[in-house]
Symmetry: C2
Subunit: 222 residues, 2 copies
DNA sequence: AATTCATTAAAACGTTTGTTTGAATCATAC
DNA sequence: GTATGATTCAAACAAACGTTTTAATGAATT
């Protein structure tokens, strides 16, 4: 056998992936050296290049490993909603929950590494590494397309462009809620030391409030 | 004279700052080398260490240069509101505009570099570089404290902790709207090619909708 | 015209970077 | 037991990193 996560071979591989995930989250891609990764994973320096080929391919695999599952779970939740609705439009709040709620539940999994990964993911949205961005776009394409279509159907009276904007805003609010260390946290001192289960309901209510907010008056069309 | 931005000396200094600002935004701190900065600024390699001391002090100065003005403008806007109100509570929407609208107006200034800087700032909120974070906390402290106090006064019926959460969410939505390159932009292809003046009214309405959204039911207090 | 001090310039400093090499080690199949 | 193929290991590679050094240049002061 050659590549698939076999019995023993998978050990080194996943030790590397786990170590890289945490370090990328803490120090960024450029701020994390191969030696940091391999020493944290307690493997030989050459192991990364042997198992993954290069640092960039390792980065790619760190994302692929979790993102595939996340977006599968999102699509499965959407499938359920659409099956229940039988062609009828779905409540926007349930669509939003299928997309963002699923991510939040992954982020609530601290021990399994889901939280670490969601922090990394949120952080990566603003890391303009061309290589990673292209990869994320491909991984997300199908999922985003289907959810947008569902929202268009759920909100037929709202212009599609507006829905796009609001989805973008929701993305931002969620990513920051998970990954951000903004001036607030810095000034007030992380106020989410308490259990992260507090985050989900609060964020969902905020997102829905924003989504439903009256549209801005057109203003001078300029 | 020694340090102040004199006649000729300021030229090299600000050329370095301008170059660094763009490069940090595009490639991050670790992804931007001294040679990239100095060659873009068309100055000698040693110039950064001569004028700023080190790379980290340069980073600090890139932020200080613009952040001081931004937060001064925010506080000035809040001063106006409070003077107009004469001790009476202020409408939350006006407080939100004084804080986020001011930032959005800076971000709308593309030619003067305001847009570049706001992208960099949003990106930095998720860059856990300890050095930069500490610096941002100090720069923001007074401003955030005064705006939170104003919001507490404007929304006396809402628990303070909830206001904190929502401020955090608003921070995230705005930063991403400016700096984020999430799956949406990646999939739909940047949809903000049009003038960035479209962003401000849409985001403000989203933020206010989220801020006013009914609070999440307490749920199982756990 | 000579002196002084801030600035720029070119070259080199020692580290650290990602990657590669070739031998050692291991488990499995014959 | 011997051979085979995958994996681990220590060591080295050139390239790039941030920083320092020393000399040249510039403009102002004496």
């Amino acid at each position: 056998m050659s590549e698939p996560a076999g019995k023993t071979t998978g050990d080194t591989r996943s030790r590397i992936l786990d170590a890289a995930e945490v370090l990328f989250m803490d120090h960024g891609f450029d701020g994390t050296s191969m030696r940091m990764i391999t020493s944290r994973a307690a493997v030989n320096l050459a192991a990364v290049n042997y198992h993954f080929g290069s640092k960039e391919l390792l980065i790619q695999e760190v994302f692929r490993r979790r993102l595939t599952d996340l977006n599968k779970a999102r699509l499965a939740a959407l499938d359920v909603l659409e099956a229940e609705a039988c062609e009828a439009p779905i409540k926007p709040s349930r669509i939003v929950d299928a997309f963002f709620g699923t991510a939040l539940r992954m982020a609530a999994d601290v021990e399994g590494g889901g939280h670490t990964f969601m922090c990394l993911l949120g952080r990566t949205y603003t890391e303009p590494n061309e290589f990673v961005r292209q990869f994320l776009a491909e991984e997300y394409a199908e999922c985003v397309e289907r959810f947008l279509a569902a929202l268009y159907r759920a909100l037929p009276e709202v212009e599609r462009k507006e829905i796009l904007w609001r989805f973008h805003f929701m993305m931002g609010a969620m990513s920051y809620a998970i990954a951000g260390t903004d001036a607030l946290q810095l000034v007030t001192g992380k106020f989410d030391d308490e259990d992260p289960s507090q985050l989900a309901p609060r964020l969902m209510s905020f997102l829905l409030g924003g989504l439903r907010s009256p549209l801005a008056e057109a203003g001078p069309p300029k």
